[in-house]
Amino acid sequence: MVEDSQEIIGDYQYGFHDPENSTIRFDKGLTEQVVRDISELKNEPEWMTDIRVKAYRHFVERVMPDWGNCSLLNMIDFENVTYFLRSSDKTEKSWDDVPDDIKNTFDRLGIPEAEQKWLGGVTAQYESEAVYHSIREDLEEQGVIFLDMDSGLKQYPEIVKKYFGTVVPHSDNKFSALNTAVWSGGSFLYIPKGVSVEMPVQAYFRINAKNMGQFERTLIIADEGSTVHYVEGCTAPNYSTDSLHSAVVELIAMKGAKIRYSTVQNWSSNVYNLVTKRAVAYQDAVVEWVDGNIGSKLTMKYPSVLLKGEGAHAEVISVAYAGEGQHQDTGAKVHHLASNTTSNILSKSISKGGGRSSYRGLLQVTPKSSGCRSKVVCDALILDEDSRSDTYPTMEIGNSSSDLEHEASVSKVSSDQLFYLMTRGFSEEEAMGLIVNGFFEPFTRELPMEYAVELNKLLELEMEGSIG
């Protein structure tokens, strides 16, 4: 506890932590045996163990990316990470059955309250596995499957086997290989044909332990003509040592389906957030990534959409806030692999207190995909002279019938806008807060109301003291 009390909490309101009461905790470090042990502990089918081992070998062989913030990436000590930690022996369906200390954490994060008010289902993951899971009965009756990924594999192995790793193969990158090797928890969501899930379903990911690695795996399949909105939130305590979050998210939107995936990532500033998120959209399907990045030390996340069917549409709205010591390396990738597909990307970032935000994007139109349209807009605000903003867009256009646009701007907060608000009685700090909230408004209006309010509050907290 003495050591705990010495940890830094600072202004980060979710930086509190509970004592660790793990039922199983693996030693730090990664070996093939650790991978096999995780699989055995979860009593997985042999094919999954084989995939894990194959992925582990690829992870070992694969070199670290030689692009992006290499100096921060190379500081990751894979041998100083705990790859599996079980806090509760089973996933409960009632909050009353969740161990008290864990329940208290989620109470403080407001999850049970939100569930009662506006959610169709909730998965709460604490360390490596889900501790709570529920779904509204009416959705269950319509055939919606919403489980944590471990239960999904146990109960629906044939669906998982069919789709697992088809959108993000383990060989995609070093961190997808790592995730495939040691994945644990995450969500498994299947929406049957024609079913529309009106209320969002939510997953909440919490890291509590020090030097913890969280490697959840999410698989969402929206069958023909169905719709779903999935919301994801993430927090962790502030420690002086680093944690690693490396998730893989795979979305499959069948013909005419619509998936919206909203994330507000608010990891503490000691978390490496290296995530691979990718979706496949078939004919006339729509995939929307609404992606907010507020926390973490280094985030590298580029939600992608493969538009594989004619008439498919991708929408990516992302915001990033890079404060002191943070690098938000985010962006979006859209691959137009079929004709008459469309996409919109809107990226907004703010850098403050020496923070660095980077937009890294790819827009690809293959030679045979005619009549595609896409628009990319990146806006960046730099709030002080120590901060930095980068834009690295790539456009690859393979035919003459497609229409693509990209525009980006970097500027500081307009003194005219500040002056206007201050003449109407706002202090400089309030005026700055209003302008920043307005800057992020295209993002917040796409979030469920409760999240939008929460995000605005978070930004206000982050912006405190930003004047003078």
Partner: protein, 346 residues
């Protein structure tokens, strides 16, 4: 570092992503071929001096390679010359290499016309525009359509210097251009325009870096390409604004007009901004010929081919509209018009 000690750059570097070094090298990457010198000729009253000393080496592989090829080497001093200077750079033989160092004091208008039928040509140009000086510079590539071409330029713009740098890329089968400009003094200003007309199986890769090291500097880049046949155009840009370079105003626009189903274009305009009180923007767009513009022209009696040619001509000429020097604009537009008319007659 010598060329042989340098690692071959990986394709993860966007500079080498679409035209890797082995594709632009004249033979095999581990070979430094014996080169013929490019012959530079100009008017009698201009101080263009052939020299035995080649330009200093660089940590960049293409520049080091050109340095070690030991082609011809020239120095050019421009000191307030009113008349435009035309330099004919003639390439020939298997491998043709030349380097040119330009020093500008006062005001000058300079054109370099690159011609010839070499199998491979490489040119390296370095230059300094001294304080309060102005250079209006046009580079016209009219190499034979079977030539491979590598061009590296490095410009140093000092306090209150201004430069207009226009490129017309018409020739060559596979071209790789890397132009880097550093704005090294307060008040420095750069306007850059690149026009590419690619056809057949041409591959043209244009990389432009603009580095704002001081505040109160200005840069403006326009890159327009029209790609027909199965040609492939790549435009990559890196705009950096250093810490403390406040009141910098920088913009980049990349536009690609795709004229055939098989034509391809890539645009990567990158920005790295480390100062807060700046205005930096970039835009990129790729599209086919606008059907409404075609309809408008055809409704006035033009056939589809003439209508498209008129649109292409207007589009490519538009790249030079950010320039201010009348002689530079006129020469670049004339060369472009002549080229497009010759294309039509073929």
């Amino acid at each position: 570092m010598m060329y042989h000690q340098m690692p071959i750059p990986p394709r993860s570097e966007h500079l080498w992503r679409y035209t890797p070094w082995h594709r632009i090298h004249p033979s095999k990457p581990d070979v430094i071929p014996s080169a013929d010198g490019i012959v530079f000729k100009t008017q009698d009253n201009v101080s263009l001096i052939e020299t035995s000393s080649t330009q200093p080496t660089s940590s960049e592989i293409a520049r080091t390679f050109l340095h070690e090829c030991k082609g011809s080497s020239y120095n050019l001093s421009l000191d307030n010359i009113a008349e435009p200077i035309h330099i004919n750079a003639r390439c020939s033989g298997h491998v043709s290499v030349g380097t040119l160092n330009v020093e500008v004091k006062g005001s000058a208008v300079l054109f370099i016309h690159l011609t010839g039928e070499p199998e491979w040509a490489g040119i390296r140009i370095t230059g300094t525009v001294h304080p309060n000086s102005q250079l209006f510079y046009g580079f016209i590539n009219e190499l034979d359509s079977n030539a491979k071409f590598l061009r590296c330029e490095d410009w140093n713009l000092q306090r209150d210097a201004s430069m207009e740098n226009a490129t017309l890329s018409l020739g060559g089968f596979r071209c790789k251009t890397d132009i880097r400009s550093s704005l090294n003094g307060t008040g420095a200003s750069l306007r850059q325009a690149i026009t590419v007309n690619a056809d057949g199986a041409q591959h043209d890769d244009e990389h432009v870096e603009i580095h704002h090291h001081h505040g109160h500097t200005y840069s403006d880049l326009v890159m327009n390409s029209a790609c027909g046949g199965s040609s492939h155009f790549i435009g990559t840009g890196l705009l950096t604004i250093a810490e403390g370079a406040n009141k910098t105003d920088a913009s980049q626009v990349f536009r690609n007009l795709l004229l055939s189903e098989k034509a391809r274009a890539e645009a990567i305009p990158e920005l790295e901004v480390l100062a807060d009180d700046v205005s930096a923007a970039h835009g990129a767009a790729s599209a086919p010929v606008d059907s409404e513009q075609m309809h408008y022209l055809m409704s006035r009696g033009l056939n589809p081919v003439d209508a498209q040619n008129m649109i292409v001509s207007g589009f490519l000429n538009d790249a030079f509209s950010n320039l201010t020097n009348a002689a530079l604009i006129k020469e670049m537009r004339t060369r472009l018009t002549v080229h497009l008319e010759c294309e039509l007659k073929r």
